[in-house]
Subunit: 422 residues, 2 copies
């Protein structure tokens, strides 16, 4: 008799390597078919569990599952859907367990950030309480790299590589043309409260940060001081002829206000940001008169599988594989972590952290990762970041375009007569 | 006795492959050292000729010249500097010829767009008139693909590939998350008056354009009708759940006004554009209420050597090589052109066009390259565009970052005692 089934769900903002984690789960479970049944993926993440909309991954070909390793986005659908607390909405948790029970699911693998670690833990507790124990394991994912308890998070290395490559290339553009054209270029990158992705842009410069591009990095961890910033830009243009800037969307003024707010809020109550680059551009033009241009990376940076880092893809696959191995070893209530053993040569292994240490936490960049003037990365940051963008894990191409996995998404037959209103 | 020297200059907005044309010139000239002297590159393009600031490319190592083939930006410096008409400022043209004479320059190779073809022609005429004949050859370059008389322009294929790859990847992001997150995504691309680069985004969709991403392409060639656009977006979201859009920065309203104008003007008197994506995003949010995100490619798309197309790199090198060959054959007053022999398999050869047919001209997309509803590309456009993005000509990487050529830029000793005020 085969073992129980795995329920796997993707959560929150997708990355260019989250599907590699899915492949790690599916291929490893398949290799242990004597002890594990099938891997059911939630259609649209946790919503698939609540609505009993499950994808049977065993219906996909081996080639398709393997192609997940080079496919960005969330192949089974991801959701920005935060379950409320047990006190506020116990029904949702009970529904999850009802669905898990109906489909003989013994393992809940949640692939996401801090919010999903919280959900993962609650499901685990309630399942015990309801007499249907489930092994709940969290698989880390976030391009923001802000998950605590792990050295880094899959998804970050590739977003970091995108940022560093993009600013290196755009800086060459400025360097070519500044005498008669644009003097200041701003690349706005995602990163709500932590500056990890912006920091990665600093890798494009020489190790002493002097006179090389990008010239300025703006981190949410450093209060934005318009006057100091403008002096820095002006000095840079006067010295080098031009100035290239990587700006995190999450930079704030002294009073805590975002430099630019779109005004809308997402379902988690977070302010939805945008427009930092245009705000800085207007400021520079008005005060210094320099012609400037800006690019906004937005979703391109978390989807850019074409420039993913090999380290990141390997991490992503490994944490998926480890979730299955931990489950087989009887473990539950933990997140798979990436542990760094050395920077250079880069060596890493897998570990684990209790979900309570991960849930809703957030890891800002350490202050000593930022140069003393607050406008660049330190040597320590450089040592940390460099191995994470290493290697080019190119996808296959046909007719000049990357070929990404296309799933059949065969649904598992429903076993419950009940529906569930989200 | 060796032959006369070549003066090579880069002009206008740089591309990710313009330096491959430089490599084509330099390596081919070197192979004919019995008949050609040295290749002097203008520091900051034509400004280098006016100020007698010439770079001796023979001082660079062979490896460095070869590395130009994978280096974006303008390695010798490019300039947005349009010489006025002969009547308005004959002094500038006379100065060019004075410098050419002083440095035994017999060949003027100008690597740029329509404006530089115009300059190239004027220099050629005046040189004859002044009794110092010069062979003037134009090497095409523009990411906009709007040069007349050539099937395509080097620089376009790679910008096109960047657009197609980026929208394919970002569309997977939307497809993963639309039930609980962003419903509309806009990628704003450069393209002042022609929609070639926006059109390239359409390659990411299936050949019948139905139900695939991107869902909408907005071309400057089609008058922007806000009402029709909003209906299209709404229908797409209702049918597919989300909508992805590639928008050219140059789209205009019925009255000819740009949908968004930054207000500033560049040195050629062109309006400097920006902010189309944010304008569309506000419109969609206000009228349809859909959560949306946008990315602005800006300089990233013309610098993205990391995702350059092999076809484009080959074209760029070939037009540089051909300029030398044409010069050796005694030709002058022409632009090297790329001639298409067949779409599939793609076959091409080199030709030439008189500078008068190129100067200040502009090639809009043919109307039959756009679908009848005006929101997508036609099969004809697809057949034209596909070979131009074919192949991945990856640069070398060290520590996760592309390694681009770093030039010594050794200057040629000045021979004139005069200075020139720009």
């Amino acid at each position: 008799m085969p073992g129980q089934n795995i329920f796997y769900a993707q959560s929150g903002g997708v990355t260019s390597v989250i599907n590699a984690s899915a492949a790690g789960v599916i291929e490893t479970a398949c290799a242990h078919s004597d002890r594990i049944g099938r891997v059911y993926a939630g259609h649209d993440g946790i919503l698939g569990a609540l609505t009993e909309d499950l994808i049977d991954t065993s219906a996909e070909s081996d080639a398709t599952i393997s192609a997940l390793c080079h496919t960005p986005g969330g192949a089974f659908g991801s959701a920005r859907y935060k379950l409320r607390s047990l006190e506020e909405n116990r029904t949702e948790y009970e529904r999850l367990i009802e669905v898990f029970k109906a489909h003989d699911i013994g393992y809940f693998f949640y692939n996401g950030g801090g919010d999903s670690a919280d959900t993962c833990e609650k499901v685990s507790h309630l399942a015990d309480e309801m007499g249907y124990p489930i092994q709940a394991l969290h698989i880390p994912k976030t391009m923001d790299n802000d998950l605590p308890a792990t050295d880094c998070s899959p998804g970050f290395g590739s977003a970091a590589k995108y940022t560093a490559v993009s600013i290196r290339e755009a800086s060459l553009d400025l360097a070519s043309m500044y005498p008669t054209s644009t003097k200041v270029f701003i690349l706005e990158v995602m990163g709500r409260t932590t500056g990890w992705t912006a920091a990665a842009g600093g890798l494009a410069s020489a190790s002493d940060n002097t006179g090389t591009d990008p010239n300025i990095v703006l981190f949410p961890e450093v209060v934005f001081d318009p006057e100091r910033f403008l002096v820095q830009v002006d000095e840079c243009v006067k010295k080098c002829g031009y100035c290239t800037i990587v700006a995190s969307e999450g930079i704030r003024h002294t009073d805590g206000q975002f430099v630019s707010e779109a005004g809308a809020r997402d379902v988690f109550g977070h302010t939805q940001l945008g427009g930092v680059a245009s705000t800085l551009a207007r400021m520079i033009h008005a005060r210094l008169g320099y012609k400037n241009h800006y690019a906004i990376a937005d979703y391109l940076m978390r989807s850019a599988r074409h420039i993913a880092s090999t380290t990141d893809v390997e991490h992503a696959y490994a944490v998926g594989r480890a979730a299955v191995e931990y489950a087989l070893a009887g473990r539950s209530g933990v997140m798979v972590t990436i542990e760094r053993e050395s920077d250079d040569p880069y060596r890493w292994s897998l570990g684990s952290a209790p979900l309570a240490d991960v849930a809703n936490g957030e890891r800002a960049m350490p202050r000593d990762f930022i140069s003393s003037d607050g406008f660049h990365i330190s040597a320590k940051a450089r040592a940390y970041l460099t191995p994470l963008i290493a290697g080019e894990a190119y996808p296959p191409y046909i007719d000049g375009l990357p070929q990404y996995a296309q799933l059949a998404k065969k649904r598992v037959a429903r076993r419950l007569n009940t529906s569930f209103k989200l």
